[in-house]
């Protein structure tokens, strides 16, 4: 799998992502600069976590206007795979490539903790290695992860199976009102969604930080394995 990771000023989880991609695919990803206007030959582009432009104004707002995002959009139109994690998800919503927006966490505090995610749709290129309703653990670390979207779009997302992951308890029970299991207060406990063609995925938690048993588990690996498999096909 030929992967590229975009670095914006303020990005800080590009190394974590590179380690995860290399460990699963056996191939080191290319690091792309926010001002690049030419993309190398790639299967996957990752917008990693961090605080692009300090998260000032709104998370992801300024990065969404970077020169490279024009290329990323074209890449998506050509059918390339795009994964946005945390700040990357925020950037994808700011560009409109994914619907909705991420507001401040309901607690109004930055949250850094493990959460459990239930796989809602196992038919996407990002989730194929799981079964529907599988539960896995992932660290989350963000101040603005409270997903909102207007009612009509929500209905569409739910109807078309575009909710990829939901925050849940360790046994898979989803309770959107419960701060323990839906820590940031996201609508319908939505943690990750995909685009209508299923090729663009945005999610708040960090599967890339759980791919090594030394760091506490390998729960995040199936996501990257799914992508490797999708690319081969």
């Amino acid at each position: 799998m030929k992967a590229g990771i975009v670095v914006f000023p303020g990005t800080n989880r590009e190394r974590d992502m590179a380690i995860a991609l290399r460990s699963v695919s056996g191939r080191a990803p290319k690091i792309l600069w926010h001002q690049d206007t030419h993309l190398p030959d790639l299967d996957l582009i990752v917008l990693p976590g961090g605080f692009s432009y300090g998260d000032y104004l709104r998370c992801g707002a300024m990065a969404a206007h970077s020169p490279i995002m024009h290329e990323v959009r074209k890449f998506a139109e050509r059918g390339g795979y795009i994964l946005g994690v945390c700040n990357g998800f925020q950037i994808l919503t700011e560009t409109g490539m994914l619907p909705g927006a991420l507001l401040k966490n309901a607690s109004l505090r930055f949250l850094s903790q493990d959460c459990f995610l239930r796989v809602e749709n196992a038919e996407t290129p990002f989730t194929a290695r799981w079964q529907k309703d599988d539960v896995f653990r992932a660290p989350l670390a963000h101040g603005d992860g409270n997903y909102v979207v207007d009612e009509k779009t929500l209905e569409m997302l739910e109807g078309e199976g575009r909710v990829a992951f939901r925050y849940s308890a360790s046994d898979g029970v989803v309770s959107p009102q419960d701060r323990e299991t839906n820590p940031n207060g996201s609508l319908n406990a939505i943690a990750g969604i995909v685009s209508s063609d299923g090729r663009v995925c945005g999610m708040m938690p960090h599967p890339e930080d759980l791919v090594d048993s030394l760091m506490g588990g390998e729960d995040g690996r199936p996501l990257f394995e799914s992508l490797v498999e999708a690319v081969v096909q």
Partner: protein, 736 residues
Amino acid sequence: MSSKQKVVDAALARQFGLSGEEYDQVLIIMGRVPNLTELGVFSVMWSEHCSYKSSRKWLRTLPTTAPWVIHGPGENAGVVDIGEGLAAIFKMESHNHPSFIEPYQGAATGVGGILRDVFTMGARPVANLNALRFGSPENPRTRQIVDGVVRGIGGYGNCVGVPTVGGEVNFHPAYDGNPLVNAMTVGVARKDRIFLSAAAGIGNPVVYVGSKTGRDGIHGATMSSAEFDENALAKRPTVQVGDPFVEKLLIEACLELMATDAIIAIQDMGAAGLTSSSVEMAGKGNVGIDLDLDSVPQREPDMTAYEMMLSESQERMLMVLRPDRTEQARAIFEKWELDFAVIGQLTDTGRIVVRHKGAIEADIPLAPLADEAPIYDRPVATLPAPEPIGPVHDPVGLEQALITLISCPDLASRAWIWNQYDSTVGGQTAQRPGGADAAIVRVEDTSIGLALTTDCTPRYCYANPRSGGAQAVAEAWRNITATGATPLAVTDNLNFANPEKPEIMAQFVAAIEGMGEACRVLDFPVVSGNVSLYNETRNPDGSTRAILPTPAIGGLGMLADVEKHVGMAIPRSGVLILIGETKGHLGQSLWLREILGRETGDAPDVDLRAERRNGDFVREQIISGKVAACHDVSDGGILVAVAEMIMAGGEGCELEPPQSGMRPEAYWFGEDQGRYLLAVNSDGQELLHEAGMRGIPSRLMGKIGGGGLTLPSGATISIPRLRAANAAFFPSLMGA
């Protein structure tokens, strides 16, 4: 303020914090009356913060060398060899006063400052820790300060992408008007690419990078060296605001430039900004320096030379570059959208000459500015004997006492705090906060693990500064050992009250003696640190209230094979074994404070030889793979330590009866030092035997299993009950 307007005399010098004698010395060095800018330079360079005038004599007594120490005190941070051609670079620094005035920005800029001390030496920062002391939870201002400090540390560290992996928190009324915020950063660099601050090469350009200069925090260095009065809040000095985003860019740009051979010397602009960085770089290199302030990037119009030289604007660095690499360097900083300006050059005059708008604004000989800085041998009083412990009885029983202890402010779960710190960014955090006695961070692309901790027990230091100083070092060493790592070196942050008072100076001197002795016996040298004095509050009636003496210790250890480390979570089965001698020392214990409401008695004795022998044994057992989990016994004693292992692992334990001939509360809650709880998967006989052979006190504590903590009486405290008691304090204090 313009250099031309104010008349410089002894009275003004006093306002600037220079004593009459110090001002006389300035007059001799200058051979004339200094102008305002020059006076400002002297006042900050000779402030307690920059000159260590009260503490230097005593700091020199600390051991600072070992075969693995590459750079000890004297550089921006300490450097130790961790193998594979790599070095760990680390330091701790305080931001106490700014954090009282504006908790968020004070704490945030504290983190920013210590990060710069570390990456200025060529290291990529890999971990942050923070040692915090707050006032009484009952004081309404405490809550605001906790809120702002925690948000500030998180706000800065999370944004720059350095995981915050550990720290400590205490509450005590002595910190009501003077909280302590000590931040520690650890970085990793290649051993052959460590950057120092001594300038060299006459004619070489002096380059300013980072953020623009504004009128931030002018005279911060002198402020942090003066005791606080109630007016401090009203005075509202220009608070420094941090920009972690720019710091992140500065880290990346500096590391990119450091991969080339462009840099001859580099120094962050910390306290006293441009003044201290330029004076220190030139002074260390025995060269002169000419600065042209017209070239300094400025955020505000009409800044004077005085303001620019004393500004404490954040996220700035000063470098001396090879002239033929200047343009290459400029391109890197422009790529990262940072200011870059050549603001001067090195000279052979031995003087610092500052020009602004065509006029010479300062012209000072560097050697006397550094060499003739005052050093004081302040009077030291005799320490009072600790208050007798008084009669001890147990009014509540074990079960209730345990619940009270694990819910008290000093032992309650800190999850509320660490859940606001990104502890996983970087993908190398093998033990997050709460998982082990020291945080474990793997060095990327190697099998090396770093073990990191901060420790100090201020109530011990108050009762007995010498034991307290030794205990702080011993506990850091023990916490590292309890993960299986080998302790390498410490950084310290010596927080004390007014050194001009002999009784405070006595605390300071005794604490350093205790620290020094512990460092020597444990082979745990001090490689960097910071002193913060005048931590006291002046009451409206003129009296003062001193903080508890708080020599915070930051410890660093390493594992050659990080996979071999253990955490503190109790495993599924096996037994718990106690290593170390239990004497039942209740003086200054949390049990005494929380159950009998007294802070009396002597601090526990620290037997350094036993400490070393027990620790070396424990580490050996862990590395040989025989131990499933380990936790040191400290605050709260054995029963609290067992409860903590149970809460972390979610498995119960049935405890054996106490040693005969000892009162139960003394056995279970005494705070004797040098002890560890080890969980082993077998019946433990082999380990007990091994310990016995070596003459190490050991004892079977209990059998793992059951639904909770089962006392010898048969009563069981369930795990959910333990967890609920432990979790409540912070959310209820902070209102969520």
